[in-house]
């Protein structure tokens, strides 16, 4: 093809994925531009609250020692909310450093600085409106001002990826495959957060809480809430299936407000002031509805490819590593001077060998299985747990055995047998998938 290339690689989107991709290409000695639509990197991004050490080190090496994080997250609570309280499970390891709480504005800024130091040419304030295709190959991009050419484009433009749709790499999304998440950043004094959550002053520990249920009126909504402690803010948010919200004519902000008024949450955020409200989609397309990842001259990665594991609240690690692997594949294509699907497919091979495709495969049915039992997870079991612990803790004047028998009887009676069997089938299918996964 007779094209004057401006650069070797164009990366679209300066999130964790795009930055990792660009960095990999630059380290390989090739010329790469990283294009971001926002004025600041990270200014369009939102997440629950943690980025993971292992994936960060794969991409940024020992630079991670200087990550300007706010707290290390190393206490995890799974909490089943009922109307008056909760049943909680907590795992804590005060010496672990697996996850960092850091605001996206600061995270992406830090990552972009490292990329720039390594020779990445970073261009903010630039919206890629379309891809240029010549002889079936993606050969460049169009912005509102100019055209820019490179033999490889890495598309990392996030969950809504308009470019992936334009390239016909995927169908239109279905509401069922999307989680809408919204959160509030709540400001509190650092000391207050530390005493409230039993945290040390040196930011070496922090809390992640994951809540099931908690809505009084809506019993069939597949939703979870989360809370992360930052230095002098708390992130409190919820995620709910978009189809459920539509069906129930329910606004996500209403769920946040209801969770905020739950007796377990009130004392945690008391006296706090909301300083930011944000919303974002989380893709649940997973393994079964994965888009085409490679076309001649272009690679799709990160959220744009639906790489996420919402069961484990993982996303930034999938973005970082898929970006890095996309960068490696681009280098391979440049070295062979071949940008066909055949060569770029080395990306897919690398993904298959990594945890990304293995885990996406393992979890391919799990989220939708859990979704099909949303009433059980968000309502029925949290309330049965409450009944059980009322027996254990009430010290009333009835014999324990008679109460346990009654509990068991009601456990089956309150729910049709078929529903119970469906629960057992769904949960054992999840367990089977986990054990038989890759």
């Amino acid at each position: 093809m007779d094209i004057n290339y401006n650069s070797d690689v164009i990366v679209i989107g300066a999130g964790p994925c795009g930055i990792a991709a660009a960095l990999e290409v630059a380290r390989g000695g090739k010329k790469v531009v990283l294009i971001e639509k926002g004025e600041h990197p990270g200014s369009k991004n939102m997440y629950g609250g943690a980025v993971y050490d292992s994936a960060l080190r794969e991409v940024f090496g020992n630079e991670v020692d200087y990550l300007p994080y706010e707290r290390i997250i190393n206490s995890y609570t799974w909490s089943f909310l009922n109307d008056t309280g909760s049943f909680d499970m907590t795992y804590k390891n005060s010496s672990s450093r697996h996850a960092y709480a850091i605001k996206r504005f600061n995270l992406e800024k830090w990552m972009v600085e490292i990329a720039k130091k390594n020779g990445v040419y970073y261009i903010p304030n630039t919206l890629v409106e379309d891809l240029i295709i010549k002889d079936g190959y993606v050969t460049g991009i169009k912005t509102s001002l100019e055209e820019y050419y490179a033999p490889v484009s890495i598309i990392a433009d996030g969950v809504n990826s308009l470019l992936a749709r334009k390239l016909n790499l995927r169908d239109d999304f279905k509401p069922y495959d999307m989680i809408l998440s919204a959160k509030e950043t709540i400001k509190l004094e650092k000391k207050v957060i530390e005493s409230r959550f039993n945290l040390s002053e040196d930011n070496s520990n922090g809390v992640c809480k994951m809540y099931f249920g908690g809505l009084k009126e809506y019993k069939n909504i597949f939703m979870m809430s989360f809370l992360y402690t930052f230095k002098d803010t708390i992130m409190l948010g919820v995620g709910a299936n978009l189809a459920d919200l539509s069906k129930n004519k329910l606004n996500i902000n209403k769920i946040i407000d209801e969770i905020k008024s739950h007796p377990d949450i009130i004392p945690l955020i008391e006296g706090g002031k909301t300083i930011e409200y944000s919303a974002h989609l989380i893709p649940e397309t997973g393994f079964n509805k994965m888009p085409e990842l490679v076309v001649p001259g272009a690679i799709l990665a990160g959220d744009a490819a639906g790489f996420i594991n919402s069961v484990h609240f993982e996303g930034t690690n999938y973005a970082l590593i898929s970006g890095k692997l996309a960068g490696e594949a681009a280098l391979c294509a440049l070295n062979n001077n071949d940008f066909s699907v055949n060569t770029l497919s080395v990306y897919k091979k690398k993904l298959s060998k990594s945890f990304i495709l293995k885990d996406l495969y393992t979890y391919r049915n799990i989220i939708h299985k859990l979704y099909s039992r949303s009433n059980s997870l968000s309502y029925y079991y949290p309330y049965k747990i409450k009944e059980f612990f009322e027996i254990v803790t009430s010290a009333n004047c009835y014999s324990k055995s008679s109460q346990f028998k009654k509990f068991l009887f009601n456990f089956i009676k309150d729910r049709s047998l078929s529903e119970l069997i469906k629960d057992i089938k769904a949960f054992s299918r999840c367990a089977f998938d986990m054990l038989s996964g890759k």
Binding site: G38, S144, L162, N253, Y277
Partner: protein
Amino acid sequence: MEKKDNKKSIQDKLSTIKYNCASETHLKVDEKKCLKCSEKTCTFICPADVYELEPETGCIIVRYENCLECGACKIACPKKAISWEYPQAGYGVIFKNS
């Protein structure tokens, strides 16, 4: 009443967000499709309450300047009547604390 409460709650929260507001909308609705739509999903699904039904005309008012750029409206719209683009480069929402 409850619906109004939520709208007020959203308005209060939107006031915490920084925007660089573009002069042109990045969200467009196809009025013909909207008039035939009985669900009006956009009017309750949007976390920023961007879409409002004008009862007299049946038209949808689009307050694009409040948009958080999540993309939920476009996917949830049963009539596929929303054309959803990113705002012009450098414009739109600026999350600083998320």
